[in-house]
Symmetry: D3
Subunit: 133 residues, 6 copies
């Protein structure tokens, strides 16, 4: 009954929920509205196969994503999402600040300032729901 494609979607959404419990519903709504198989194709690949691939623990993985999104600077909303996800899986605030400092050197001060702005939003909203980090 569950096709390979719907299984892959399920796994993607289970992983997404681990990072942010509200994310699967929002993502599904956004993507399914555009095209029936969009969520399956993009998330099925991005989340189930690659994001959850073994070999590097989830905490380090989130740090790598935060570094890459800061360096590229093209997706401030997704950077904020992954900073929150990083806090959610145990990265500390001071580790996020350390990554920001690295990116001042590697991607320049403007990229770092954009990262600071995303971090301040993520810290504020994470703080409201969870006092853990």
């Amino acid at each position: 009954m569950s096709s390979p494609s719907s299984e892959r979607r399920e796994r993607a959404f289970a992983l997404l929920a681990q990072l942010d419990p509200q994310a699967p519903e929002k993502v599904a709504k956004n993507l399914d509205e555009l095209s029936d198989d969009f969520a399956e194709l993009v998330l099925g690949f991005a989340f189930a196969y690659v994001v959850s691939h073994p070999g590097i623990d989830l905490r380090t993985r989130e740090m790598l994503r935060v570094a890459a999104l800061m360096a590229m600077g093209n997706a401030p909303g997704q950077l904020e999402f992954h900073i929150r996800a990083a806090l959610q899986v145990g990265v500390s605030r001071s580790e996020i600040v350390e990554i920001l400092l690295q990116m001042a050197v590697y991607a320049g001060v403007p990229a770092c300032m954009n990262g600071i702005s995303a971090a301040r939003k993520a810290f504020a909203s994470h703080g409201r729901g969870d006092q853990g980090s």
Copy 2:
């Protein structure tokens, strides 16, 4: 006798040597030829203060740099240098491959393919000098 600025330079070069024993000599030659205080200004900041800043261990730091340089895609030579530096401080080849996979998702398949090319060169030259990873 040693000014604060030459101390900062020394610390930067000591850290650089930890990543690649030949690097300080090459970097000094390149930078000093352009301007006397270039090495002190750029490396003094980049390496002594930020790269060696406490809070994230050097091994994870090198993974973050590799991810950022793959994502930005503007410096293949420096990416190759930091993949070798990562191997030098204990990151395994399969962890580098995992970072490449992440970057296929976050920065696109062309950026990932460029990263593959840098990784193959770094693996080959690291393999020659050191069998450890």
Copy 3:
């Protein structure tokens, strides 16, 4: 009476009107306020000579622009404009979704997600004025 430069401006604005009837007025206002010859220089080149250059039909041209703007990711407002322009000249919504999928592969999932956000806005505003696509 009409100088070569004002002719070029006219042609640029005629083409712009084909993509969005309100655009010439908005663009003229924005650019003329900054400098008298800004609109002529930039649009004269960009629109009259290059955008309207023969050799590829306007429909395919708009698809190429949408792909390039998604890939570069530096101009979300202009991406939204060209998605609407694409719908205006006959590109279908499902073709826009296909371009988004391509860009997930070539420019990464964050660029694709930004494109999804621009597409949803363009689809919504185009839908209000025109039921054709």
Copy 4:
């Protein structure tokens, strides 16, 4: 006997061969050396699901890829590959030149000049094997 994963790999390689008959062998060699499932994961997604997805014909798809790779400017070797692939599936040289002109406007003259250099190499090597475009 053939797992879903090896089927996906087969389909990816069949499509790749349509663009350049020598590509599957080169790609397999490059990727398999790094990791057993790299080719399956990246190409399985990139080529079998997305590149070959219905909805836009292969000829237009190659034009979109050429535009995106020119605009991003981060992968000159892959741009040259896709210009050759475009010629292979029926895009004419003058259409490639038109895309270059578009990209002068959208991504700037330096990106266009890099595209010119890739196009000249692709035209030269395509000319040697095939007189068709």
Copy 5:
């Protein structure tokens, strides 16, 4: 009493005040909230050592920063800040428009249009406080 680090911070803030009298307070608030030594590390380097380095006058330096921020396109708020700072240190509005035209050629029309939007905001807010340019 004043450590080398607090001296460096003072110099950075003095320079920042020259560009925009309100900036030091805003920047200090943003950065100190994240980490005690963030302002010292980033601004100490960026502003005291490099931005104020002799060799190119401050007016030309601000023109170079405006050009670079337009070209990179990753920090519209900082571009707007530096366009205002440029006006503050004597760059004229028509010189800003000339830089915009240059960037249409070098970084593409979308980057130029983003720059136009930042320039219009900077011109408007600078006009309110100061009629000098």
Copy 6:
């Protein structure tokens, strides 16, 4: 006899010769081979109208181009060309080094290192033909 288009081409090439006496011949050969009107369209816009536009002196203009090309990092050959052109029109080597330092802050150390490599090549080749800077 001389059409408006060939006049524009002449002016573009006269300006190009001012920056580098060998450039017009190389550029014409590269562009005309691709398409008859490519040189006229791209250079006619880029050089005759914008690069030579009054309002900012040629020396400052070359400094702006060097800054922008370093910041974007997508065209090392063109960066090297414009560093040589800057030296040709009176920018000193130490001013080029100052721009490199600025770009370490704004575009990151990897972009700065790439700029250093272009500057070293430009300094070496300019030194051979001309001892003036």
